[in-house]
Structure formats: structure tokens, C-alpha cells
Amino acid sequence: MIRRAILKALAIPGHQIPFGAREMPLPYGWGTGGIAVTAAILGPRDVLKVIDQGADDTTNAVSIRRFFARVAGIATTTRTAEASVIQTRHRIPERPLQEGQVMVFQVPMPEPLFRLEPRLAETRRLHALGDYALAQLRLYEDIAQQGEAGSAYNHPVMVAGRYLMSPSPIPGFDNPKLHMSPAIMLFGAGREKKIYAVPPWTEVRSLDFDDHPFAPVHAAQGCAFCGSTASYKDEIVADDAGGRVFVCSDTDACREGQE
């Protein structure tokens, strides 16, 4: 049933497909949607990588990787280059994805019009009519009041010129990676019971104005470990005097950079 939802999602890029969520060995909000999708697509030869905010070594990433190694008997990795399935929370790896790789996103709130229109029935109607003036209006308000788009993460995207889609809470920095990606992008929302997808080589445009093009934020400094200036950084307080360093959010890309 989940596989059928995934196929349907791939056939209608950006459109949310409801599915019957199964019992999961962890609570909603910890990645149940992602796990349901990953479990539905894993085959015996797959190699799984799991990241949480870009890191391979956080509790959730380690637990989910171990869970699938045990119940599905598949190989796991922390290297982006070697993985065939990458389950992720809030990041897309820095290393460009290849054809044949599948990204699985954990999505807390699949509805991009959430917070703009409180009635879900009405949001479905707006999607059906392709009426996204509300989202554009939110962007207008942000620019009028702050001079720039207000969403540093979860910035809505138009998929294949038809559906407005929440890219899950990835930073705006990662939005361009969705555009014309050779990899399959699958999004699973466990609590909201929705699956949606971006097939390979699909046009994905961040919502913007012609004269205020979408401009993701780049960190002020290079990474303190690998020196990369091109990657997405976490800002970390390093000492008691308020000193700060920037380090790569993607631990695998940082490791590659240091080697």
C-alpha cells in the first residue's frame, strides 16, 4: 500500500498522497514517515545511510541505521557516495547525488499552506485550483517587513510548475539541490499520513519574485575543520567567552574535505 502511494506520488510530482500509516517502533516526530518509506523501498542489495541534520553520528541516525541493519539485513554506510538509499532529517548531502540514489525525507508537516490556511479541506481545494496567491502573499509580507524572505528553512517550492510543495525543513541552502536532481526524492510524513515525491530530472523552483530572486544564506566563514566555504555550516559556541566557529553540517562531506 505504501509502495502504491509512492508510485502515485512519483506519477504526480509534488502532489500529496494519503496513506495508512503503520505502527512504528518509535513515536511520531522521530522519523516514522521516513522509516515507512525506507522500509517500503529497501531491497536486499541496498546500502542505507541515515543522517540527522547532516550528521551520521546522532542518536536517531545511529538507531534507525541499526534498526534496518537488524530487521532488513541490509548493509549500512555513512558515506554518501556508497549509499543507494539515504534517509534524512533536514538536510541534503553536499556531495552531488547520482542517478540510482534515493533520498527519503522525514517530514513533520507536508502541507506548504499550513499556517496560511487553517482548513485542510480548503488547502486541498487551493492545490486543486493551483491557487497559491496566499503563499506569494506571505512572501510579499516578509519582503515588505524584513527586506527578505522570512523562511530560512522549509521555503516552499513549485514542482514541475504545478504543485506547491514543502521541501521538509531543509535549509533554503539545500533547495537548489532539488532542482533537476538525478536522484529520486521521496517525502514521508508519518503523523500526517502523506507521501509525496520529486522524480529525477524534475523542475523544482523556490517560490520568489522576479525582482527578488530566491537567495539562500551562506555562512560568513569557512569550516573550522575542513576549510570548505561552499558547504552549509552549523554555528557553534566554542568557549565560555562567546567565541563561535562554523563547522560543516554534513559530517561525511567534512570528512572527505579533511582527507
Partner: protein, 251 residues
């Protein structure tokens, strides 16, 4: 020249109540038609049927050759945000109170497909000037405006896409008389400048004289009298119209 919007033999019942009873209306480009009548006479219902929001039990509404109630929802919404405007009696029903004045005006432009921030700002400023609001207050929310200003903002929001036909549901209701007078002046000027056709609902027959070319008098869901504004007001024929005209208070 043919009618812009035409409706005939409209019937609508709410249970035992005949809200519309064999009503026929038409409006020509550039014409202002006032629909007067007391509360409960069916004038608001008529406006909702004409603007496609409520389907009649019988009868049809035609706009530019198309049957309004046969249109799909997408087409009707499209019509609502390009060709038509709807001014609510209460400005709060027609405005987004959580969004700045500029955003309120710009929303219809964005719904119609404008994706240029600067162009939207320019249009919003231009329309604020046209409705006598200070464009410097473009980024204020409507809650910071007075009632009369909110009503003018609502009118700017409606007119920014340059509609051909505007539905006004008692736009001067709930405003004090001096603010009403100013709003009526503004409406008269805009309607003349833009060549708008407008349905203008009111229970205030003096306002109808100021603005309307033609007047329809409604009672109990029926049109009891119809004619040129001056004719209806100076020579009312139906007893109910005579009552309405004679009950206007003179200051």
C-alpha cells in the same frame, strides 16, 4: 451593445421563505444599479446569486455570454479575481486583517499572476492614492486604520485588477454620515473614471440617488419597482416605494 450581466426568472427558497421570487435583473457596461429595500427583502441574497456564490433554485445568470452557475469553480474564482470585485458591508470580511495594506491590495494582483514585487508595490501605492489613503502607510495592517479607511482600502483591493463589474453590499453601512458622504463621493468619482458597472445595495435611498443610474426596489423577495433613479425617487409608484421615499429624514 448588450448587457454585461443578465439574470431572469430567479427563484430561491429558504424553507418556507421566498428569498427570491421571479427576479429579473440586467446591468450594462458603465451602469450603476442600486438595489434598495429593507432588511430581509432579499437584496443580499440576490447579490450572492448574481455573483455566483449561491445557486438559485430556478433561473440563470449570464455574464459575457457564459452561464455563471454552470462555470467550474476554477473559472468562477478566476472571474472573481479579474473581471469582478466584491465589496463587503463589513470591511473586515473583505480584508485580511493580519496582512499589511499593501499586501491586501497586492493579493489580487498575485492571484492574477503578477510575480514582480516592485510592480505590486507601485500598483498598491497608486491605488492607495486613488482611494485617498496615505501610501506611506502601505506597510501598516488594516487594524490600525479607521472604519472609513478600512472600507476605502477594501475598495482599492477590489479595483486594483480593474474589474468590469463590482458588487457592493451596503458599502456605507456602519459608517457615520460624514464618512459615508466622503465614501460616496469617492465611489462616484471612481465609477465615472473607470467606467465600472456596479450593483450597489443599500437601504439608504439618498445614497442611491447620489450614485445610481437605475434603481430596483425589492420587498419580500420580489422586485416591486424598477426605473431610472430620478423617476423612482421623484415619482414613486408602488406604495412600498412611496413609503421608503417619504421616510427619508431631512436634516
Amino acid at each position: 451593445m448588450s448587457a454585461l450581466l443578465e439574470a431572469d426568472a430567479l427563484h430561491l427558497r429558504f424553507g418556507a421563505v421566498r428569498a427570491l421570487d421571479d427576479v429579473a435583473v440586467s446591468i450594462w457596461p458603465g451602469e450603476v444599479v442600486a438595489i434598495v429595500g429593507e432588511s430581509g427583502s432579499g437584496k443580499s441574497t440576490l447579490l450572492r446569486v448574481l455573483s455566483g456564490q449561491v445557486a438559485p433554485d430556478a433561473g440563470g445568470v449570464r455574464y459575457a455570454g457564459a452561464e455563471v452557475h454552470a462555470l467550474g469553480e476554477a473559472q468562477r474564482r478566476r472571474l472573481m479575481c479579474t473581471d469582478w470585485g466584491y465589496v463587503h458591508q463589513n470591511a473586515r470580511d473583505g480584508l485580511r486583517m493580519g496582512v499589511s495594506a499593501g499586501g491586501n491590495i497586492g493579493e489580487r494582483l498575485m492571484a492574477a499572476g503578477t510575480r514582480h514585487y516592485g510592480a505590486i508595490r507601485d500598483a498598491a501605492a497608486e491605488w492607495m492614492v486613488k482611494v485617498e489613503l496615505d501610501p506611506a502607510r502601505m506597510d501598516d495592517r488594516p487594524g490600525m486604520f479607521s472604519g472609513g479607511m478600512q472600507q476605502r482600502l477594501q475598495i482599492a483591493r477590489c479595483l486594483v485588477t480593474q474589474p468590469k463589474l463590482v458588487f457592493m453590499d451596503e458599502p456605507t453601512g456602519g459608517l457615520d454620515v460624514s464618512v459615508q458622504a466622503r465614501l460616496l463621493d469617492l465611489l462616484r468619482r471612481l465609477v465615472g473614471e473607470l467606467g465600472l458597472a456596479a450593483f450597489f445595495l443599500t437601504h439608504d435611498i439618498a445614497a442611491a440617488r447620489l450614485l445610481a443610474h437605475r434603481i430596483l426596489v425589492m420587498r419580500h423577495g420580489r422586485v416591486v419597482e424598477e426605473g431610472l433613479a430620478d423617476r423612482v425617487l421623484d415619482d414613486p409608484r408602488h406604495p412600498y416605494t412611496q413609503l421608503l421615499v417619504s421616510s427619508v429624514l431631512a436634516a
